[in-house]
């Protein structure tokens, strides 16, 4: 790097660093020895020192006695500058002191709880009125099986005939379980002999399966079913 000559003397470059005490010990000794022999550097050093001291004195008299003002950055400015989210601000509020944030948070929690309770109680009343779903049909016990008679009057005599079931009990059970999910109810119609089975479940759109006497378990009281069957037939005449 090219040395800058401030005066005709090459040592003049060390005047300022020497004046501020930033020369190495070896360079300092060299420069001090040079000062004793070089009037140019000595005079230049004196002039530079004089100017420097005026600034030093100005600072000492005009600036140093001044009290240091207390600067405070508003908190919202700090958060905005730091990109702090509302969650972090909430944490910071709790970190600084527990009293006011705790009270505020508790108040908010209580209010939210009361509001929630109010809403829940309102929902319960409304639910009973506004419920649009069709309540599930009361289950029909398998102990009182009902014959399935197709709509239109056709009677499936085979369905009503109690015949022997040659299947094993386990098989009959499995087949019966498939038909037990659909509770059915017989509604006696004005047409004698033509009872209709109506599926009371509104969601069901498929044709109800026709339970057969053979579908029921062997251990079920078939006698009762037969009795009821005959009763129905007799009353329908």
């Amino acid at each position: 790097m090219k040395d800058i000559k401030f005066t005709d003397c090459r040592y003049s470059i060390d005047i300022v660093p020497y004046m501020y005490g930033e020369l190495s010990s070896s360079d300092r000794s060299v420069f001090e020895s040079h000062l004793l022999d070089c009037a140019v550097c000595t005079d230049e050093f004196a002039e530079i020192s004089n100017a420097r001291y005026e600034v030093y004195d100005w600072k000492k008299l005009a600036f140093d006695p001044l009290p240091t003002p207390a600067f405070e950055i508003p908190r919202d400015v700090q958060h905005e500058a730091a990109g702090v989210s509302w969650i972090d601000r909430l944490r910071a509020a709790f970190a600084q002191g527990w009293a006011i944030p705790t009270v505020a948070f508790a108040s908010i929690a209580i209010f939210a709880g009361l509001t929630g309770l109010f809403l829940m109680s309102s929902d319960t009343d409304v639910a009973g009125v506004n419920k649009t779903t069709v309540p599930a049909a009361p289950p029909v016990t398998v102990d009182s099986p009902l014959p399935v008679i197709e709509a239109g009057g056709k009677s499936d005599t085979a369905a009503t005939t109690v015949g022997a079931d040659d299947r094993k009990p386990a098989e009959r059970k499995a087949a019966t379980a498939a038909h037990r999910t659909e509770p059915k109810r017989v509604i006696r119609t004005s047409r004698p002999g033509q009872p209709r089975i109506i599926d009371t479940r509104a969601t069901r759109i498929e044709t109800p399966s026709v339970p057969r006497l053979n579908d029921f378990d062997e251990d079920e009281d078939t006698s009762l079913r037969l009795a009821q069957l005959f009763e129905d037939i007799e009353t329908s005449d």
């Binding site: 800058i4 009037a39 000595t42 005079d43 005026e54 030093y56 004195d57």
Partner: protein, 199 residues
């Protein structure tokens, strides 16, 4: 109010004052001290970096100059002569500090310490002079180009090292030193154009 004789001394140059001092004019050397005390003090401060040491060194400078005034041949300027004496005094102080031994300077005057107090050294006018000088210095610093002014402020007010200034301004170290030197030179010229002392 200055005495008539003192007013006459003000009009003399430094070399004339030395002649009068050699001729045992007691006020002549006092006028020399008044003219150069601040600059010699500043030089000592620049050498030593401490006000108390600088004050002592400046005192010793004028004492030494008074003792050896008869040896002044006029080959150099009075200011240069005083500067060299001051540099010697400061180096002496530094050597003493390095060896960590304090030696009392023999008082060859036989106990009569002559303190060359310039006329009106402690007068009330000094306060006014000081206030005006501060204003002049502030204006001079403010009138510097911004790149030079900031280096002075960082060095004197913030007391940053050259390396710190270099890192902050992202300038080479030599550039920082050069700028500060240039700033002080320009400041010196501005202050010389504006008299800092009230006569």
């Amino acid at each position: 109010m200055l005495a008539k004789h003192e007013r006459m001394l003000i009009d003399h140059n430094d070399e004339k004052l030395v002649e009068l001092a050699v001729a045992n004019d007691p006020d002549a050397f006092g006028e020399i001290v008044r003219r150069w005390e601040r600059k010699i003090f500043a030089l000592c401060f620049g050498m030593l970096g401490r006000e108390d040491e600088a004050r002592d060194a400046a005192q010793e400078t004028f004492i030494s100059a008074y003792r050896n005034i008869s040896n002044f041949r006029g080959e150099a300027k009075v200011s240069s002569w005083l500067h060299r004496i001051a540099v010697n005094q400061c180096l002496t102080v530094k050597r003493r500090a390095r060896t960590r031994s304090e030696e009392f300077i023999d008082d060859e005057s036989g106990g009569e310490e002559k303190v060359f107090i310039a006329p009106a050294h402690r007068s009330p006018a000094r306060t006014t002079e000081q206030t005006e000088r501060l204003t002049i210095v502030r204006q001079a610093v403010s009138s510097l180009p911004s790149d030079l002014r900031q280096v002075i402020v960082m060095k004197e007010f913030e007391e940053m090292t050259f390396q710190e200034i270099s890192d902050t301004l992202e300038l080479p170290l030599s550039t920082v030193k050069s700028r500060l030197y240039t700033a002080l030179r320009q400041l010196r010229m501005k202050l010389e154009r504006t008299p800092l002392e009230i006569n």
